[in-house]
Amino acid sequence: MKLLYFAWIRAKIGMAEEQVTLPPDVRNVGQLLDWLASRGGNYAAALKERSVVKVAVNQEYVAADHALQPGDEVALFPPVTGG
């Protein structure tokens, strides 16, 4: 599964994207965030304030209970500040 990071989440994690293989018990977006945070270090720091982490799957906003599929493009980013 492809993970993309943007803005200060990208800066804190220290990379813009990575390819990951999910453990079998990680089936939705909330579980993915828990699993990433459990990696500790930069991940834990970047995902500490869970309420400000927005998630898009295949370029659409989703909630924590959104089920993940193999091959999904999952993006993590802070609240947007365009315009």
């Binding site: 993309l4 800066a11 898009a56 370029q59 906003y61 993006a75 947007v80 500040t81 365009g82 315009g83």
Partner: protein, 157 residues
């Protein structure tokens, strides 16, 4: 007609608005909003800048969805969103939203709707540099409130 452009280069407002209404003499008015980079450092500081990061692919998808919703909510003939990314200086144009309609109320309201939604939905992030340090711009609650207002409101024209 919906036109979405995500680009690093500047845009020419006259040319963009002329293209929006070209060949359609039923259009009575075009509302537009141009967002500019404000100088956060103040006149006494060294030059400030702003770098806009975005999510290529999702940006276009979100802007198109927002534009389609505006076309459904108001009787619009055309709708344009241009959003720049990359490094910009104070006074530079960031974004142009324009809507064309036979009715001025529809053009004005939908233009406000688009910029409000774009502020909360379009995946852009601003990194400000005041000449001494860099800072990610925080999202504003007032932007969320402005966007939420449209969700609560039914079309009134």
């Amino acid at each position: 007609m919906i036109s979405i452009k995500v680009q690093s280069e500047d845009f020419d407002i006259s040319a963009e608005l002329a293209a929006l209404s070209a060949g359609n003499t039923q259009i009575g008015g075009i509302a537009s909003f141009t967002g500019l980079v404000r100088d956060i450092a103040g006149p006494m500081a060294t030059a400030s800048s702003m770098t806009l990061e975005h999510y290529p692919g999702m940006t276009e998808k979100q802007l198109s969805a927002i534009a389609r919703e505006a076309m459904e909510r108001w009787p619009l003939d055309a709708c344009l969103i241009i959003h720049r990314f990359g490094r910009l200086m104070p006074g530079d144009r960031i974004v142009l939203v324009a809507t064309a309609s036979a009715h001025r109320e529809a053009a004005l309201s939908s233009c406000a709707f688009l910029i409000d939604w774009l502020k909360t939905k379009a995946p852009f992030w601003k990194l400000e540099d005041d000449g001494s340090e860099q800072r990610w711009v925080a999202a504003k609650d007032s932007d969320d409130e402005a966007a939420a207002k449209w969700a609560a409101e039914t079309r009134s024209d």
